[in-house]
């Protein structure tokens, strides 16, 4: 479904991605794990068009992505839920969700999808007219995921959904990710919490300083001694 080949990305003189290759198949949950600064978020930003690759190719369902602006990539069915949530804090919960569906003209369906998100996260429904900036961290993460679902993506890019959340909320968010997967979503998950990520993923890539150093089925990587030592702390 999604394929990256030898993708390089630089911030000025700093090479953030030094030629990474990865692919995600339809219906798969693939996770990218690795330390801070390994290039995980950069990879997602390159897929969603916020960053331009210096070389290499990205393709989605056979179509090259490299030079498309972000809104065209959303139109193809890719939705990116960014690290740090990046909600529109001065807009209401409902307005944030409406923005997630800004390209869709079908108002009736959009309203139904807003209800779907409210069913997924009932606490958001209670706060629908509240400004997003006034929500708690967990609620904001739920809204960020809900907003990313509003474009009805075929591929969902999730960046650090557990960041800064209490353990109970983290497991709630991961339950939701599992549910989305059961409903047939294709997900590329970036996560620092390697244990959780490997638990729910089908396959995983381990990134280190801009390169993919290990890859394979999540179950296998979970028992790889190197991964155990570096990322699972056992």
């Amino acid at each position: 479904m999604l394929e990256l080949r030898e993708v390089e990305v630089s911030y000025g003189n700093i090479r953030a991605l030094k030629g990474i290759s990865l692919r995600v198949a339809e219906g798969e949950l693939v996770t990218l794990i690795g330390a801070n600064g390994a290039g995980k978020s950069t990879t997602l930003k390159t897929i969603s068009g916020l960053l331009r690759p210096k070389s290499g190719t990205l393709s989605y369902r056979g179509q090259p992505l490299g030079s498309l602006p972000p809104h065209k990539i959303v139109a193809l069915g890719i939705s990116h839920c960014p690290e740090g949530r990046h909600l529109f804090g001065r807009l209401t919960v409902t307005e944030n969700l409406r923005l997630g569906a800004v390209q869709r003209p079908d108002h009736e369906e959009v309203r139904r999808d807003i209800d779907y998100v409210y069913k997924l996260f009932p606490v958001l429904k209670e706060r629908n007219e509240q400004l997003a900036g006034t929500l708690s961290g967990g609620e904001q993460q739920m809204l960020a995921i809900g907003r990313a679902l509003m474009s009805r993506p075929q591929l969902l890019l999730l960046d650090e959904p557990s960041l800064g959340l209490a353990p109970l909320l983290v497991s709630a968010i991961f339950d939701t990710i599992r549910q989305l997967k059961r409903e047939g979503a294709t997900i590329l998950l970036v996560e620092q919490n390697a244990r959780l990520a490997l638990d729910i993923a089908d396959r995983a890539y381990v990134m280190e300083t801009g390169r993919v150093t290990l890859q394979g089925p999540a179950m296998e990587l979970k028992h790889n001694p190197q991964v155990e030592h570096t990322y699972l702390g056992t």
Partner: protein, 326 residues
């Protein structure tokens, strides 16, 4: 003159000048909120609009046609400005964008000067009288210039329409989202080029309306007439809280009110009806608030601006800075 009538008259003046400032300030604020660009060439759009209107009227075109030509010409100029000058340097440091806006202003001013020469029009150019906007309304002993009433009403109607646009429509919502977090707005699937062009188009249209009303009040045009209005609009936007549309509106009316207050209070001793305050007080007012103080009005305006910046650095409706996504 009766104090009540005087007050009403000044209130209308304040609201009418406030409307003009607000109309100009929202254009500055919309562009700034999305691009962090202080577009000083915004004032030259006001000037261009006035010239479009003047040339159309001198060509004996009817008022309706004049207004349509003026609006479309100014909006086109605003869109061109964005496409040619600002889009290529998007992402460059703020100071580069600011300098570009000065350059754009210079080009518009000198271009206008060139056109007036080629058309062999005088400089300054007398603005043709528009019947519908000249003369005064008289209510009892109150007389109010017709153009002030039109400015007030038009300002309020247009600003209400703008508020409805940004809260009720998807494009308006997209504009607010882009203003708050541009990369996140892109991730929603918002075409930011379209949103930015819309901000320039709306800002230019409102500037055109303000330009026409200014020209009627000033009576004559020069290619440099945009400077004072854009400076005032900038002050209004800063007072209200730079980068927010509501802040620009509040700031515009606050500045209008302040200016009229600073014009009206000096000399108040001369117009107070006898018996309202003691003769001694009236003498003191005449002595300490002579009408000659009026000429210091702009100095006081800047004093207030400094005070606002000292005590509310983010303006009346200010908010803290946003965080950036890579």
């Amino acid at each position: 003159m009766n104090l009540v009538f005087y007050t009403v008259q000044q209130l209308v003046n304040a609201l009418s000048i406030g409307s003009l400032y607000a109309l100009m300030a929202v254009g500055l604020a919309m562009v700034f909120s999305i691009l962090r660009l202080i577009n000083f060439a915004h004032g030259d759009l006001i000037m261009i609009a006035a010239y479009f209107a003047a040339f159309a009227l001198l060509a004996k075109l009817p008022l309706g046609v004049t207004i349509v030509l003026m609006l479309s010409g100014t909006i086109l100029a605003g869109l061109l400005m964005e496409r040619v000058a600002y889009r290529p340097i998007r992402g460059a440091p703020d100071v580069a964008a600011l300098l570009t806006s000065f350059a754009v202003g210079q080009i518009l001013q000198n271009g206008t000067l060139l056109v007036t020469r080629l058309l062999q029009k005088p400089n300054p150019l007398a603005f043709p009288v528009i019947g519908a906007l000249s003369g005064v309304f008289t209510f009892g002993s109150i007389t109010i210039p017709r153009v002030n009433v039109v400015s007030l009403l038009l300002g309020i109607v247009l600003l209400v329409l703008l508020s409805l646009f940004v809260t009720r429509t998807n494009l308006g919502l997209s504009m607010r989202a882009a203003a708050e977090d541009l990369p996140a707005a892109q991730l929603m699937g918002i075409d930011i080029n379209r949103v930015i062009a819309t901000a320039f188009a709306i800002g230019s249209g409102l500037a055109a309306v303000a330009g026409l009303l200014f020209a009627v009040q000033a009576g004559q045009l020069t290619p440099y007439m945009g400077f004072t209005p854009v400076l005032k609009a900038f002050i209004a936007a800063v007072i209200g809280g730079f980068g927010s549309i509501s802040g620009a509106i509040v700031g515009g009316y606050a500045l209008g009110g302040l200016e009229v207050l600073l014009t009206a209070i000096p000399g108040i001793g001369d117009i107070l009806p006898p018996g309202l305050v003691s003769p001694r007080m009236q003498e003191l007012l005449k002595q300490w608030l002579p009408s000659s103080l009026t000429s210091y009005r702009d100095a006081f305006v800047f004093l207030v601006l400094i005070l606002v910046l000292l005590f509310r650095p983010n303006g009346i409706l200010g908010r803290r800075e946003r965080e950036e996504l890579g």
